[in-house]
Symmetry: C2
Subunit: 195 residues, 2 copies
DNA sequence: CAACTGACAAAAAATAAAATTTGTCAGTTG
DNA sequence: CAACTGACAAATTTTATTTTTTGTCAGTTG
């Protein structure tokens, strides 16, 4: 990737970072490599990002926003869905998205797994957004009006095995779909009872 | 630890392995170190265990049996408990045991985490025993008579965040107890509905 | 003068060399 | 002769050495 304009932007740098990670993998990508792919000196990158960590966190935040949060926000907004079915559609989408990227975009999924594992702040912000969506869905669906945020968290954590990257290798099991359905059946009953 | 009798047994070797891991940590423990602590040549250990992997797996199996399965079997057998409350007592015990050893016996907990992470067979056998217990409790409590084993699995996997070693660092959070209670409330409703 | 370069020291990573560990087995010992 | 030893090759790990990378900044450039 060559310099396309004469002002270097954060967006360009992040795009080059993703490309470089896809080419060399997470472990082998250096700031120097990213600079090389942009045709600039690595010092330039440090005018835009304080550190390598900050650069990788910015790339991960963008990736999460675009690949995970945006499609989830669509499901959240979907007015054809209501109540428990809406929650189910949301969680199923979350689970499918994670599985999709774990398989189809290993390099950037590895970036997301590593960066979130090392940044409590980033992961907690991300989880906060998802629990926010779920809370919203529950309120609009008239579910669990007493403590909707805690119920939202409970649904999220009860399905952790199906969306937390630490469990990604388990997603290859042929039993995983049945196991999710069984867990979902349990949760669904729990959600239905208290509405 | 010196040789206590003149016939070397698997049990002695496993005990020495645990001691050595506690002393040097998982990463720094070699078969040679274990042999040294027994006052034998490392070749002797290979008459009892085909490989270092097999030795560590045997030590882990014993640890799981003694520290996790045995106390869980007690809860399973406890005739003062029935139905959903029995399931809850079982899962709470499982969660507490894992947390206890993660904190109080880091070295052997690390052994368990590493060995199970690397042996699909060992972990699947262990999970099988727990799901067996839960199935038993459910049948005796008259819960979910249609597919008790699948419900048992659902309860186990829905609480994975609270007992799977990949989540051990999250157990330090002060919110963890509240989060477990919220997940449990959801599960409990699910279990109660279908009995 | 804002945006970038390139030279630099400190930190980290890769490579090379040395030492240890793993696993085997012929031979010793009680 | 069953149980163990100790010497050995191959594999792995550790340590030492070299190279690269990170992060800074004074200086250049358009």
């Amino acid at each position: 990737m060559e310099k396309s304009s004469d002002v270097l932007t954060k967006e360009q740098i992040i795009a080059a970072t993703e490309e470089t990670i896809k080419r060399y993998g997470m472990a082998k990508t250096s700031v120097t490599d990213v600079a090389k792919s942009l045709g600039v000196s690595h010092g330039s990158i440090y005018r835009h990002f304080k550190s390598k960590t900050e650069l990788f966190e910015a790339a991960t935040e963008q990736w999460l926003e675009e690949k995970i949060i945006a499609p989830l926000a669509d499901v959240c907004r979907d007015s054809s869905l209501r109540g428990v079915g809406h929650v189910q559609a949301y969680i199923r989408t979350l689970v499918q998205l994670k599985r999709h990227y774990a398989r189809e975009d290993e390099a950037l999924f590895a970036m997301y797994a590593k960066v979130t594992d090392e940044s409590a702040e980033l992961i907690s912000k991300h989880i906060g957004r998802i629990i926010g969506h779920l809370t919203d869905i529950m309120l609009r669906g008239g579910l669990k009006s007493d403590q909707p945020e805690r119920s939202a968290g409970a649904v999220f954590y009860a399905t952790a095995r199906f969306h937390h990257p630490a469990h990604a290798y388990e997603w290859k099991s042929p039993a995983i779909d049945a196991e999710f359905s069984d867990v979902w059946a349990l949760i669904e009953q729990g959600l239905k009872t208290n509405d």
